[in-house]
Subunit: 210 residues, 2 copies
């Protein structure tokens, strides 16, 4: 969960009102959780979050690499940076791309028995801003970037189809706990679900985008 | 929404404490909504619901054809009886089965712009009993019955995979409103999603049920 984060070395110039250590990082996460839900992803500014946290705005870049990384950690509670993840997913063989995507998300969500996913679904069904945030993340930060690299038509439709199967899997595995999908091992689930995403990513899907 | 319901002719023998008209039906729906959420599908008895509604238990059969039909209307707010629906879905060509399933649910959920689906997701993420109820409905009442008729292996896994894609579609179309999936016409969505369900229903899906 902390593997890709910078260690607690302060940046060259410290301008924050708090020490640039774990306190700053925690204060930013707490403030971001509030501001993103209140304002939505687009409305929330780095400055507003830093002000709420009582730290300098430069700390957002230092600790989270920018607004997107802060959002991924604070709201989605994902232990990774979306851009790095997309790059890693695209680095391997394209024939196994869907398998890597499904495995990556399953492995993340499995680590705390789906508690993180359940919290996400709960927040997105009760707050429009959280729904917008999740849409922004899955559609724009993850799937449109991936599909953009594949150079294929109907990228928006493909992105939303991929999200529908991946989020539906999370819903059934962690929230509703349908058996055997709730307790199947990752390999079984990947074998069952990956061909669906592979089709959504690369094959003809619909006569026309509606 | 009312097309398959009996008209307000009272049953031959009236034993209820209220007239066997719309009042009875409404009282049963309200009571069922409470009791199913409190007790779960298995724990809720027809007698307990009727007592709460202040009517005779026989009114459940009269108005809803039994516990399952009452549940479908009161909790899932579905305008159909699950058993009749499964029979209708299975009546046509098996090659188009998945297409009929996707089209049926989409058409129902589309009628009130997904408000019904959104309410369902909200209740199931906040009440374990509602999650259990939904699991019971999708997995047992709908998909295991369909798959049972197909005579194919791994029926539980297939049922939960079908539910994952169908519920994920609802989540993305109505709750999260990913575009273009949120505003695509039914034909476009059916063309994109049906092949996924057809594979889950009839093709090899995983090396072994985990």
């Amino acid at each position: 969960m902390t593997s890709t984060e910078p260690q607690a070395t302060p940046p060259a110039r410290r301008r924050g009102r708090r020490p640039a250590g774990e306190d700053t990082r925690s204060a930013l996460l707490a403030a971001a959780g509030e501001v993103f839900v209140e304002q939505g992803y687009d409305g929330a500014t780095v400055r507003a979050i830093a002000t709420r946290a009582g730290v300098d705005a430069a700390m957002v870049n230092h600790w989270f690499g920018g607004k997107e990384g802060l959002f991924a950690k604070a709201v989605l509670q994902l232990p990774f940076d979306p851009q790095q993840t997309v790059a890693a997913l695209l680095a391997g063989d394209r024939a196994d791309l869907a398998e890597r995507i499904v495995r990556t998300f399953l492995t993340i969500w499995d680590t705390n028995e789906g508690g993180r996913f359940t919290a996400l679904v709960r927040s997105m069904t009760s707050h429009d801003a959280a729904a917008q945030a999740l849409r922004n993340f899955f559609q724009h930060m993850i799937f449109e970037r991936i599909i953009g690299q594949l150079g294929i038509d109907q990228s928006d439709l493909r992105a939303s189809l991929c999200a529908s199967q991946l989020l539906g899997l999370g819903l059934v595995r962690y929230v509703l706990r349908f058996e055997p999908l709730a307790s199947s091992d990752v390999d079984t689930v990947v074998a069952a679900i990956a061909p669906t995403l592979q089709r959504y990513l690369t094959e003809p899907i619909a006569p026309a985008a509606g």
